[in-house]
C-alpha cells in the first residue's frame, strides 16, 4: 500500500499563525480547511458571497446619495417616534438594533450549549433567538407601514431626494428577508434539537448524512451575519 504524501502541516493540527501556515494548509492534500467541517466552510463561503450582495446595495446607496442635488431626508427625523408625549429621534431603529444584538447573544450561547449536548438549554435559547428575530421583523413591518403611510415610495417621497425610498426599501427589504428566512431555519433547527435528532444522529431532510450539533453552529454563523449586516445598515443608512 502506498502512503499518502504528508505535508508539513498534516501531522499536527495546531493552528499555524503565520502566512506560512496558510500556504501549507492550502497546498496540502485533500482539504484546505483542516478543522472546519464542510458545512461550516460552505456557510462561510455563502456568507462571503452575501457580503458582496449587501455591499453592492450599500455602495449603490452611497452613489445615489452623493450624486443627488436634492437634500437627503434626515433619518433622525424620519424614524423618530412619539413616546410618552415626547418626540425621540431614531428610537425605533435603536430598539431594533438592541433586539437583534440580543438575539445574537442568545444564538452564541445556544451554540455553546449545543456542543455540550444540553438539549433543553439549546432548544430554549434557539427559540428565544427565533422570537427576537420575529420581533425584529414585526418592528420592520411597522416601520414600513408608517413610512408608506407618510407617502414614501421607491420613486419619491415628500421629504426630499427621490432616491431615499428606493434605497430604503431595497436595503431594509433584503435584510428583512434574510431575517425572516433565518427565523424559519431557527425554528427547524430548534425542533431538530428538541426531538433529539442531533443526539441520535438522525439524517436530516435532503441528506443522508448523520445529524450532529455542528448544524447549530452553522445556523449561528448565518444568524450572526444577519446581525453583522444590520451593524453596517444602521451606521450607513440610519446614522450617516
Amino acid at each position: 500500500m502506498t502512503q499518502p504524501v504528508m505535508t508539513s502541516s498534516a501531522g499536527s493540527l495546531a493552528p499555524p499563525a503565520s502566512l506560512h501556515g496558510v500556504v501549507a494548509d492550502w497546498s496540502s492534500d485533500q482539504r484546505a480547511f483542516k478543522t472546519a467541517p464542510w458545512g461550516k466552510a460552505m456557510m462561510w463561503i455563502f456568507l462571503l458571497s452575501d457580503t458582496f450582495i449587501f455591499s453592492c446595495f450599500l455602495i449603490s446607496y452611497m452613489w445615489v446619495r452623493m450624486s443627488t442635488t436634492e437634500p437627503w431626508p434626515n433619518p433622525s427625523e424620519v424614524f423618530a417616534l412619539t413616546l410618552f408625549g415626547k418626540n425621540i429621534p431614531l428610537i425605533l431603529i435603536a430598539i431594533m438594533t438592541f433586539v437583534l444584538i440580543s438575539s445574537s447573544g442568545t444564538m452564541a450561547m445556544a451554540v455553546k450549549f449545543g456542543y455540550e449536548k444540553n438539549r433543553k438549554m439549546t432548544f430554549i435559547l434557539l427559540l428565544i433567538t427565533a422570537l427576537l428575530g420575529a420581533t425584529f421583523v414585526g418592528m420592520q413591518a411597522f416601520e414600513w407601514t408608517k413610512l408608506i403611510g407618510e407617502g414614501v415610495r421607491p420613486w419619491g417621497n415628500p421629504m426630499g431626494a427621490a432616491q431615499f425610498g428606493a434605497s430604503f426599501f431595497m436595503i431594509t427589504g433584503f435584510h428583512g428577508t434574510h431575517v425572516s428566512i433565518g427565523v424559519i431555519f431557527l425554528i427547524i433547527v430548534a425542533i431538530k434539537v428538541l426531538r433529539g435528532d442531533l443526539d441520535h444522529e438522525r439524517p436530516g431532510f435532503l441528506t443522508g448524512r448523520k445529524g450532529n450539533y455542528e448544524i447549530v453552529e452553522t445556523m449561528g454563523l448565518y444568524w450572526h451575519f444577519v446581525d453583522l449586516v444590520w451593524v453596517f445598515i444602521f451606521a450607513f443608512f440610519y446614522l450617516w
Binding site: G21, V22, L48, A108, K112, L239
Partner: protein, 116 residues
C-alpha cells in the same frame, strides 16, 4: 470527513461581548441623539461600527479561533470592495457636478445640436 472540532468556550466570553455590543450600540445611538455633526460624527459612527463588526466576527462567529487558512479565505476577498467604493465615489462626484451644472439653478439650457 473532517474531524469535528467543536468550538467550546466559556459562557462568560459571550456574555461579556454581548454587554460590549450593547454599550457600543448605545454609544452609536448617542452620536445621533446629541446631534454630533461633520467629521466628528462620521468618525465616531465608523469607529463604533468597525468595533461592533469586529467583535461579532471574531467572537460570536468564532473567527479568532479558526485556522488562518479559513480566516484569510473569508476576510481578504471583501477588501476588493474598496475598489468598487472608490469607483462609486468618483463617479457619483462627477454626476453631482454635471447635474449641478446642467440642471441646477442658473444653469444655461443646452441648445439642441443642429440637424444637418
Amino acid at each position: 470527513m473532517a474531524h469535528a472540532q467543536g468550538q467550546q468556550h466559556p459562557i462568560g466570553v459571550y456574555l461579556k461581548i454581548w454587554g460590549l455590543l450593547f454599550v457600543l450600540s448605545a454609544a452609536s445611538y448617542l452620536v445621533d441623539y446629541f446631534h454630533f455633526q461633520g467629521y466628528l460624527r462620521w468618525t465616531l459612527i465608523l469607529v463604533f461600527m468597525f468595533l461592533k463588526a469586529g467583535l461579532i466576527v471574531a467572537v460570536f462567529m468564532h473567527m479568532m479561533w479558526e485556522r488562518m487558512a479559513l480566516v484569510y479565505a473569508i476576510l481578504v476577498p471583501p477588501l476588493l470592495l474598496i475598489v468598487l467604493l472608490g469607483i462609486g465615489a468618483f463617479e457619483a462626484d462627477y454626476t453631482f457636478f454635471t447635474r449641478g451644472k446642467f440642471f441646477g439653478p442658473g444653469s444655461v439650457p443646452v441648445a439642441p445640436a443642429p440637424h444637418r
